[in-house]
Assembly symmetry: C2
DNA sequence: GCATTGTTGCACACCAGTGTGCAATGACGT
DNA sequence: ACGTCATTGCACACTGGTGTGCAACAATGC
């Protein structure tokens, strides 16, 4: 069934989020299914992880392109990106762990286009003097969005509290002044 | 020999830095020794990792207490900490990967005291209005020093360039205004 | 020469996870 | 009632890493 396949994917995201080293058996039983069934849908562990990653990347890319429309200032675009990303960031936190480890190469490759988009946005902000230039855009974008996921990983992830904090923190490290960062994040001091 | 033991530890830090999932065999051959010899010094893989972590923690704790002397402003103390930490940060980057995974509990426990010290420093800065309060000190300190390691991990780690960038970035996300952050990142102990 | 100590080179048992093969079972629509 | 299809429950082979036991060997110091 397609329904089973989708449930496996959903559950796998959960289980791997808890423990990136979880085995096919763990995922299977968490999905209320037998290990053999998982192999029926995904020939190998890498297939599962790859599918999962593709799902995440396309979703996050959609979020980014939605936030980064023409005419939007880079810092506002970033704030919008984080705000929209937040609801799913916690679910996709496993990606950070997955980049290292066995399938690092594959995952890294799939995330490449998204990384490029982010770096582009940051570069645009640096050119427009709204972002600081103490780091190359490729590195700064990675560190900033790594911070977002780190915050999403950390307990108080649920609610607008976390979203606000993540937006402010990432904007700050991008070089946006605190007053503007707070304003963009949607709240007040 | 004690010399062999030390060499194994040094090399292990290197090898595990490259690949946190490297086996005892990889470490052994990288140290120019046989796998059996490693087990002669460290009864189990966990022993090796634990010893390594203790080494790192004590070294980093020394660096922090050296930078965070009484009378030092919190932001200056943080800048000094990053400056002194930088030379070894790249070597110890494996710790970030080690916190997750098999020995996560153990490692996390060993890092606990250091985390507490860092959180204390950040809390002091927040009380003194030099750090922003958009995140609780325990989280903010982790995210900030995670960013330092992320930058250390990222290629351009060598040289004062990276040290400066890491200091500025972490200070920015702590809420220090850009001008002051740049000034603090320039002056080393 | 002798004893001690660290290292080596096997061999071995063990475990956990991966991936496959195949027959049996059950639900489904027609 | 029939065929189809997903799922199940085993059994199996294979891999890669861990940790141990033991005899042999080399260097060191007495």
């Amino acid at each position: 069934m397609n329904e089973t396949r989708d449930r496996i994917l959903d559950v796998a995201l959960d289980v791997l989020g808890e423990d990136p080293d979880a085995g096919m058996g763990d995922i299977a039983s968490a999905a209320g299914v037998v290990r053999r069934t998982v192999y029926g849908h995904f020939p190998s562990r890498l297939d599962l992880v790859r599918t999962l990653t593709q799902r995440a990347v396309s979703e996050m890319t959609a979020v980014l392109t939605q936030a980064d429309t023409a005419g939007t200032e880079a810092d506002a675009a970033w704030a919008g990106f984080v705000a929209r990303l937040w609801p799913v960031a916690h679910r996709y936190r496993v990606l950070l762990a997955l980049r290292r480890g066995e399938y690092g190469e594959t995952i890294h490759g799939l995330l490449g286009p998204l990384d490029a988009l982010l770096a582009g946005l940051v570069a645009r902000g640096q050119d427009g003097e709204v972002f600081a230039g103490h780091l190359p855009a490729s590195v700064l974008s990675q560190v900033a969005y790594g911070a977002v996921f780190a915050i999403a990983d950390s307990d108080l992830s649920n609610g607008a509290e976390g979203a606000r904090a993540a937006a402010i923190t990432s904007l700050l490290m991008l070089g946006v002044p605190e007053a503007r960062a707070v304003a963009l994040a949607g709240g007040w001091p």
